[in-house]
Symmetry: C2
Subunit: 160 residues, 2 copies
């Protein structure tokens, strides 16, 4: 049975890493001009989506209990506001560095996680609520963030 737990963790973490790699591949491939293009007329630019996905991954550091976010300043620009906010953004080069830095930190912690830890509560749910809703665990954070990333990868494909 415990073997099944480990298989479940493996498929979820593998899917997460596969989506991250798709964005890594876009980073290696797209030109600065492409990143600054809207993904469709009147829709998010590539650079905004890169910042958005970077900010979401940064938030995972704290939600998963891996420590403090590395770039909390991204929240205002890329989570609380849209791409037309006029707020100053980090440069494309900075965002690419943040993306790698944040994912390196996430993956270093993910590698060390024990099976049972994945089924523990994440940091945005109280112990009381978690007792009633055991699906609100760390593994579920990986799963929902993977889907969120896929959603925006489908949009980023349009500037490729």
């Amino acid at each position: 049975m415990s073997n099944h737990n480990e298989v479940a963790i493996k498929i979820i973490v593998t899917a997460w890493q596969a989506q991250n790699k798709r964005l890594d591949d876009l980073i290696a491939k797209l030109s600065d001009h492409q990143w600054n293009t809207e993904t469709a007329p009147g829709r998010n630019t590539g650079i905004y989506l890169l910042g958005h996905l970077t900010a979401v991954n940064d938030g995972m550091i704290s939600i998963l209990g891996f420590g403090e976010r590395l770039h909390p300043e991204l929240e205002e620009v890329f989570l609380k506001n849209g791409y037309k906010s006029g707020l100053a953004m980090p440069s494309l080069a900075e965002l690419k560095n943040y993306w790698q830095e944040i994912n390196a930190k996430l993956n270093a912690h993910i590698e060390k996680m024990q099976a049972d830890e994945w089924f523990g509560r994440h940091m945005s749910v109280s112990p009381e609520d978690f007792a009633k809703e055991p699906h609100r665990n760390k593994l579920n954070i990986i799963l929902t963030r993977t889907n969120h990333q896929s959603y925006h990868l489908g949009q980023l494909a349009y500037i490729n």
Copy 2:
């Protein structure tokens, strides 16, 4: 421990159903005109993506061992060819019906699955390969198809 298996299954199946519901919601909301619009200039139309996602869900019936696909004719138009193929498509009304019919069948089987069955091999992997690669199980089919659906839902959002 077996409780953890069930939690893992629950979060994966819940994510799958949540993505399906997002497409249900689009079906309830978008006009025929919107479905016939490209999601971005030169990109898949809404109706093509609806057919594509319906064909993928139909394929899940056989891959998960739930029986024969209900609409194998969708494969040629929506999996093997792109939206500009010129092949005759089912009407929008037919596709919406197929979507519901296929998902009803999938969900009826999913409801009855026992925890251990989810960790069994899917029908596209041989017993020999599965012995070496136990992550190629039925649960992983749900997971990867959920991500695929999220990817295209991000694109369908552009005609909303």
